[in-house]
Amino acid sequence: MANEDMGGIKAQLRRWVQVGGPFLGLVLVCLFFAFARDEFGEPARESIFKAGNLKIVLVQTVVVGIGALGMTLVIVSGGIDLSAGSMVAFCSVLGARMIVGGSSPGVVVAVAVLAGAGIGLINGGAIAAFRLLPFIVTLGSMSIVRGAGKWLGKNQATSIPNDSGIAMVMKVTSPETLFPLPHGVWIMLALAAITAVGLRQSIFGRHIVAVGSNESTARLCGVRVRSVKVAVYALAGLFFGIAGVMQLARLTQGDPTVAVGLELDIIAAVVIGGASLSGGSGSILGAIVGALLMALLRNGTSQLGWANYVQEIIIGSVIVLAVGLDKWRQGRGRV
């Protein structure tokens, strides 16, 4: 009897960790910063837990956060997309060249985002049609798209005016208060809501989960696995395109060398958010919280003046911890 009770509590705890894990992480990081001191022995909590700073953290989350939406879909489907950073750079360069060429902001956004979707379509097409490993295909396109970005940008950054319509999307105003938030933050939150509902409620969303959980079973159940895969990578490309526009807005320039290694930040956010790299499970809300957590870690350690290597070690540890938690809660299914 007592054993059963223990088992019940354990199972409940596991369920709770699955849903609340990323939030728990966020709370732990906040607690950590509440007590951490800088190299001069002073706490930085007054500046870290200030409305204005929360706004900064949110703005710093936007590019990784929007990328994490696309990456969650890919990872839930059992794949991976390593070309995310290159796509962000490519789309930001494309957008910048078009703005300099005189296109209106609406056209620029549409073309840049569709370009991302197009590259994703090619990725997904290659993966589905030739049954290639997503890791290899996107490793290739990571380099191809990076190169294409440099070619498009003539090997240098293309600057756009600081006051162009696109740049306003990420502009931070009224530094003391949380509101008004830059449009980019609202766009991220809106996209996250739509994607979360879509992944959970729509037939397509359930198909993505099915393909990621067990591809052959999904096929036997009548899921058109190849079409789902192509659509997932195209959709992910769309999100990376939007992230590229956000990056352009933030830098006020399209820089083909930006976002090197960004895909790893994005994947880390998704994993911290509770997704399993073996596919079949993942959470949009978790991914956003994961991105937020990493931005907060950087922001806080920066304000404490800690060396970069400390940040890198902490963020790495958090990722491993998150994967460990994931393994632990999955353990239930296997027993």
Binding site: I56, L251, R298, N299, Q303, G305
Partner: protein, 325 residues
Amino acid sequence: MKSPLLAALALCCALMARAADSYTLAVIPKGTTHEFWKSIHAGAVKAQRELEKEGTKVRLFWKGPLREDDRDQQIQVVENFTSRRVSGIVLAPLDSQALVNPVASAKQSGVPTVVIDSDLKSDKQISFVATDNFKGGQMGGDHLAKLMGDKGSVLLLRYQVGSASTEAREAGFLDAISKHPEIKVISADQYSGATRELAYQAAQNLLNRYGSKVQGVFCPCEAVTVGMTKALQDRGLAAGKVKVVGFDAGEQSVKDLKGGDVQALVVQNPVHMGYLGVITMVRHLQGKPVEKRVDTGVSVATRDNMKQPEIDQLLNPPLKQYLDE
């Protein structure tokens, strides 16, 4: 009723802090591993120690972008220290454009910025503290003319399109040479590209064509100096047969200077740059007027003067004295 009281209290605190004359500065380089930035760091620490002696307490945060040369990460560092409300930021912007908005936001939040090393396309910074590259190029040109006995033919191998600092050096060099009528510039339209290897190839190609006619070359940066020297060595034109004036002191080019294959190096003073960056910021915070443009000086190092303490310090910056690593 409550909030004016609080405001008054805050004002008192601010005034007291003012009276104690203590500041927190964030010094933000482009990267942290390169020796040039370590020299800047050493200079900042030097300024901190001197200010301490005159009774001004300065706390320094030294923080580069998490990924070297990543503009977005540098923006994040600026934003984070703006949020921290440091007294001031000393920034070496990775890009003259991308860092404009963050510096403007910092100013809006009451955090002033001094820009060092590379210029920012903005009028929001307190001051720009950097090498006068045009003047450095001029000094290089005059020195090369002297080495050549005021006559002969020279080559200029340019660095890269769009690199503002080297373009200023190249312009300065051509300006100085134009005042020596007996000296002819036989090529000044070739660009090397970013790496030593590319510079080496470009120098080989140039010397293939002009090797027999040239008496002097000017190289606007470290990569070009090293590549050009290698190409001259290959053709047996080194060791002073063709005079070489380079720019910047790196390990290899200092070796070449010692060995006699490079006759002179125009060198910047990054320690002084870090030093003046911090000093300028603190003077501004103390309410003293500061110059909009501060020149941190260039010198010409030769084999003869490289042992003199003030030149030796530029070639081998005294990092150990200021940095505990």
